[in-house]
């Protein structure tokens, strides 16, 4: 591209500077502020690592991280196991012309807000909600089950969302797969089961990993679902962070906990990226 004169050289910077400036001012700078804040003490002032050491010495904080990791792991595994066959059916068993509609329908509730979606599950799982009424009404149980305010409720709310997300990513993955692979496998005498296990599944594995990683990141950072569905019986990390802000106004500790949470996500990312690379070579 021919660039002549000062005007042409200044133009590209004039185009990209607003976006870069915005990101620096309202993303990078806040992050630095959070980092500095995490090193100060809520009461008394002074710099130090006391907020971080609190996380490692206070068992209830530590427990929140353990809970978060457990819930996230369960949600990721269950969501992948539920979504994969579903995406496969949409891609393989549904006639081509209906596929788009079938997929759009399958992810429609994906677009409701977190708050509304979690509240809707509360309606289903509450003491006198739909499931308990149906079960007691049909005489299967005499006392309503405790479904809301449990880990099961949190996991259900999460799985609901991530099944939709993973269906989208896995479906796209299956459609990108050239049919010639499957034809080749069939020509070489492999039955449908062997073709699936040895050809389709390995080829879609990287896509599953990407989806699973996305699930991990979004799940571990979410406050709404565990707060509405899980309640305060068992705290997850985002709930612990919000508690420091809401009840005690302790920004430094909340900052430190957020940074620890981010560090965990980064570690997961590095582990995932390495794993993916090994897969590819």
């Amino acid at each position: 591209m021919s660039t002549t004169g000062n005007d042409r050289r200044a133009l590209p910077w004039a185009l990209v500077t607003p976006a870069l400036g915005w990101t620096l001012a309202f993303f990078v700078l806040p992050f630095i502020a959070m980092g500095l804040s995490s090193l100060t003490a809520h009461e008394g002032g002074g710099f130090g690592l006391s907020n971080y050491s609190q996380f490692f010495t206070n068992p209830s904080y530590w427990q929140a991280m353990v809970n978060s990791l457990q819930v996230t792991a369960i949600v990721t595994v269950v969501s992948v196991l539920l979504a994969y066959p579903f995406a496969w059916i949409l891609a393989e068993q549904v006639p081509e012309r209906w596929q788009r509609l079938a997929l759009m329908l399958a992810v429609l509730p994906f677009w409701t807000s977190y708050v509304v979606r979690s509240y809707s599950w509360l309606l289903v799982l509450a003491q006198n909600g739909v499931i308990n009424r149906a079960l007691t009404g049909s005489g299967l149980i005499s006392e309503p089950l405790q479904l809301a305010n449990t880990r099961l409720a949190t996991v259900t709310g999460f799985v609901h969302f991530f099944v939709m997300l993973l269906t989208l990513t896995i479906f796209a993955n299956l459609k990108q797969l050239s049919p010639s692979y499957r034809k080749a496998a069939a020509d070489l005498g492999a039955g449908p089961v062997r073709t699936f296990l040895h050809v389709v599944l390995p080829l879609t594995l990287p896509g599953i990993m990407v989806g699973a990683f996305l699930t991990f990141v979004l799940c571990i950072g979410d406050y709404i679902t565990p707060q509405i569905l899980g309640g305060n019986n068992e705290l997850l990390m985002p709930q612990l962070v919000m508690m420091q802000i809401g009840r005690r106004g302790d920004f430094p500790l909340a900052s430190a906990l957020s940074i620890i949470l981010m560090a965990v996500v980064t570690v997961a990312y590095l582990a995932c990226a390495r794993w993916l690379k090994i897969e590819r070579t």
Binding site: M1, T3, D7, L11, P12, W13, A14, L15, V16, P18, A19, L20, W22, T23, L24, F26, F27, P30, F31, A33, M34, S37, L90, Q93, M104, L108, P109, W111, T112, S113, Y114, V115, V116, Y119, S120, W121, L122, L123, V124, N128, V130, G137, H160, V163, V217, I220, G221, D222, Y223, I224, I228, P238, M242, I245, F251, S255, S258, L261, M262, V265
Partner: protein
Amino acid sequence: MRRIVRIASLAYALAVYAFIFLPVVVLVLFSLQSTSFPIPPFTGPSLRWYEAVLSDTRLTSALVNSLLVASISSLAAVTLGFLSAWGFARFVLPGSALLRGLITLPLTVSYLIIGMGLLVLFNWAGVPKSLLAAGIGHVVINLPLCFAIIYSQMGDHQINIERAARDLGAPEWKVLLLVTVPVMAPAIFAGFFLSMTFSWDEFVISFLLTRFDTTLPVEIWNLLRSGLNPKTNAVGSLVFAVSIVLVVLFELTLLRRKPV
């Protein structure tokens, strides 16, 4: 064997659809409840809870706030995203890959942490909690998205049209307004509607950065304290309806254009 697979597939798919739609159906159905609890048995249909929502000034003003924040922040995000995408796609800039990485970086961080950071910064700088503060946060989350969508759609095809306009003597601003923007319109609208959807539904940033005047998701959150209530069902159904409209607009603008 084939028939067994088909029947099992159908049963499985129906079960997953039922799971996906169960909460939405319950939400909408009991928003039409005529008694005061959104639990079985169904006593409707009645529109009294929708009337209650529309006569609740807190909810209606939150709805207006949400629409304002969503449209203005999306407009800002799409403008910044478009200009930077154009800059990076058309000109060779030093450190381009790094800078593009910087713009998309917020996509990898959870909303909670973006909100926390802004809260700490604004707290130090003495910026009061407000809709403006929340809007700034929404631009942070949507700018990378708009940038990525528009940048990915800027191909060689458009470069040639722009070059033709330049060769014919159009100044840079005319190329931008009369050639690039119309050619890129589908990606621009797609970025705008997707941003609208995310901003409209966003909770945690608004929750942290607003105080008295707030957005609809935060106001719904406040309603939840009163437990299960058909009014919450009604306002939730309305929120869902708006989201669907935005998503359909997004689908029509971006996805229709591509020949499948």
